[in-house]
Symmetry: C2
Subunit: 433 residues, 2 copies
């Protein structure tokens, strides 16, 4: 690709950036929490069709994916869990194929009074756009689309096949990305613009979610001493999990890329619920555990170790000893993934192409980092032997309040994505096959 | 009242007891949890009208009662919080007036899988009726009604005014009973057949409910160390409350009637809720505190002591120190009450009448006891100078699972109530004024 083409493409992004910002606000205004992604997905589908993509909008069927590696268990059905893939067919096939992936689902917004303004009425201030999902990861999803728009504005299109994916379920299982694999979408590389500060994610941890359900013996509060309070029974179990976390983190990291990360494996007790009435000793309590593991670490063995920790703590309690906590899995059973471990030559080539694109746009060397979270990259990397680059804009407050994404960063990332596509897929003159 | 009349009345109860059991099952089948009492109350109203009572069915207006002593704060409105009072006017006015009070509201049933059978499909087994509310206190409420039916069957009616009350809100505030006072219903004594094992309740504790709301600093679970987990922040606060409970119970009881009660003041952490997503450090956690106090103990001072305990524990935490827990009252601010302390002569007279009735039915002396719970008796006793007798059937599992009431006990209590009415109100020939 010549300097002129690069310049034209970057320029096209600048010219459309105000439109891109409005588009991002529109996508962010859809409250696409788990189970409520339909309107956002139908919007994405319509936008892809308008741009001439062949689109594939489908409801995920758990039965189709339940037997596949990387599947995470779910409770309930996937009615209305819609994935969208838009396919561009390169005319000349003079390049490598690419998956541009992003997720449409967002985590719950939490108590509204902790937001400065309503989370689904995105607003801009001092160069940031605020709103639930603006950063994680609608800015990246929209960057993928506007990178392609810029190629077209400059008179080009990818010379090879390109699959634009807008998936659900990234925030709890990854089953949306898995369903894309199951449906046959494959390419030579994948790019996911998750909001990691314009750095390349080289390694990501695995994540285990489990839910612990405790029973108590319920009585009227007038006789609390004869009952067992299920809420308070949870406290020593949580303490034991914190000790396990401490042990895991004080051991030598089981993956080289995490040797300089201060606290690679994070436990989170993210949700609790228990009891029905202030004057009844609570008969039940349920809490959610989220724990990280290293890339390459056996997930079943790790889950078993966490279970054992919970059961061992429970066995110290005279009531729980005979009334074992029930442990349920309905969410992440996600392995770690490291791009560094990917031996296929495309891994290095894709990485070089992104480094080049980033340098052209920013003038700086692309930095890389391991992260203590997961992304859908693992599906492409582990289960389809497809190197997956995670590279997206700077955002703050993701999974928190007043989430925001930096707009200049979004612009730069959009430009880098466009140049990466041009390099990786090759360019041909815009037009139908 | 002659022996023949007693015999006829008790006999009438025996004859109708199968009908009474069916009636109790019907009332129990209404899932009259807070906010859902309407169908049960309309049923009670219709039954009272059918029996010739003047009925008064009204929606409680918080504004009418908010300024009265004994009022407990509520969140939200009382739309559809219906009270029912049926009034019988004694023709000859040859006796003392009486309030028969019972509450229609029940506490939530909790997880259905902890019930042997569905809680609102009452069933009988080995002489017990099972179902949520069967014991607490629909058996007593129905006993009140069938005691009056038995008088009529025997050809009698109360010779003085009698008010049959079916109230809401006993389980959380007592504002249903308070609204009856506010509406002008007064009598020389009140009887409440709460399920305390055919014993007379001589003293009851006061109850304070408060809700503690904690905030954390929410972040993505990948950076748990930079966030403050609001769920785990609650743990030291709960521990501090347990220490306060221990101190209060190890001090000499502040009321003579509780000197021989092993653990008079019970703390209960009855409900907890926190966080929205397993992979987000929870930004909030909220738990419910229920604590007992002695009769005569100043409720504001006690509440302040509990608050101080919470704030003091919070001040030990570097984050909570600057982000004080929010404490909200929306439930019991209930003073204790002791019939023993009631100096009005009617207190002794009513007690003697009940002792006599109980002895006639059971052949045993009426036992009495203090309880570590509250009842609506406090409103009559403290705020209307009306001695209030609490005396009802044997029940088990109230506020728990597989709640049940003993049917033979219910029969005996119904007979004792009928004889008590006959004695207290006097009898006259059944018939209109």
């Amino acid at each position: 690709m010549g300097k002129q083409a690069s310049h034209d493409i970057m320029d096209a992004i600048d010219r459309r950036f105000s439109e891109q910002t409005d588009f991002l606000a529109e996508v962010t205004s859809h409250a696409s929490t788990r189970g409520a992604e339909q309107s956002a997905q139908r919007f994405m589908d319509a936008q892809l069709r308008e741009r001439g993509f062949d689109t594939d909008l489908w409801e995920i069927d758990v039965d189709d994916i339940a037997g596949l590696p990387g599947f995470s268990p779910v409770l309930g059905s996937y009615d209305d869990a819609l994935n969208v893939v838009g396919t561009h067919h390169g005319r000349s096939q003079n390049g490598r194929s690419l998956i541009l992936n992003g997720h449409i689902d967002v985590v719950p917004e939490g108590p509204l009074d902790m937001w400065r303004r309503p989370p689904y009425e995105p607003w801009c201030e001092d160069g940031w756009m605020y709103g639930r999902g603006a950063g994680d990861m609608k800015a990246g999803l929209v960057a993928n689309l506007f990178a392609l728009d810029a190629l077209r504005d400059a008179g080009y299109q990818p010379a090879s096949d390109l699959f634009f994916q807008s998936v659900v379920e990234e925030e709890c299982t990854g089953n949306g990305a898995l369903a894309c694999l199951q449906r046959g979408y494959r390419a030579d590389a994948a790019l996911i613009p998750e909001p990691f500060d314009e750095k390349l994610v080289t390694s990501q941890v695995g994540i285990i979610w489990m839910q612990v359900y405790l029973r108590g013996t319920p009585v009227h509060a007038m006789q609390t001493s004869s009952g067992v309070n299920a809420i308070e029974a949870a406290i020593p179990l949580i303490a034991a999990l914190r000790r396990l976390e401490e042990n895991w983190n004080s051991d030598k990291p089981k993956h080289a890329r995490f040797e300089h990360v201060e606290h690679p494996l994070n436990l989170n007790i993210g949700r609790i619920q228990g009891g029905d009435w202030p004057s009844a000793v609570p008969a039940w309590c349920c809490f959610d555990v989220r724990m990280g593991i290293y890339p390459g670490q056996d997930i079943d063995a790790a889950a078993q170790e966490i279970e054992n920790c919970i059961y061992e703590a429970a066995s110290q309690d005279s009531y729980l000893r005979d009334n074992r906590p029930e442990i349920t899995y309905h969410g992440f059973l996600a392995e770690g993934y490291s791009l560094d471990d990917h031996e296929k030559p495309e891994a290095g080539l894709a990485r070089s192409a992104l480094e080049q694109a980033h340098q052209t746009v920013t003038g700086d060397r692309l930095q890389s980092m391991p992260i203590t979270a997961t992304t859908d990259a693992r599906f492409f990397g582990l289960y389809a032997d497809t190197p997956a680059l995670v590279y997206g804009p700077t955002a703050e407050g993701i999974h928190g309040f007043n989430e925001r994404v930096n707009l200049e960063s979004t612009r730069r990332v959009t430009q880098a994505i466009a140049l990466f596509i041009a390099d990786w897929c090759g360019l041909e003159e815009y037009g139908a096959n």
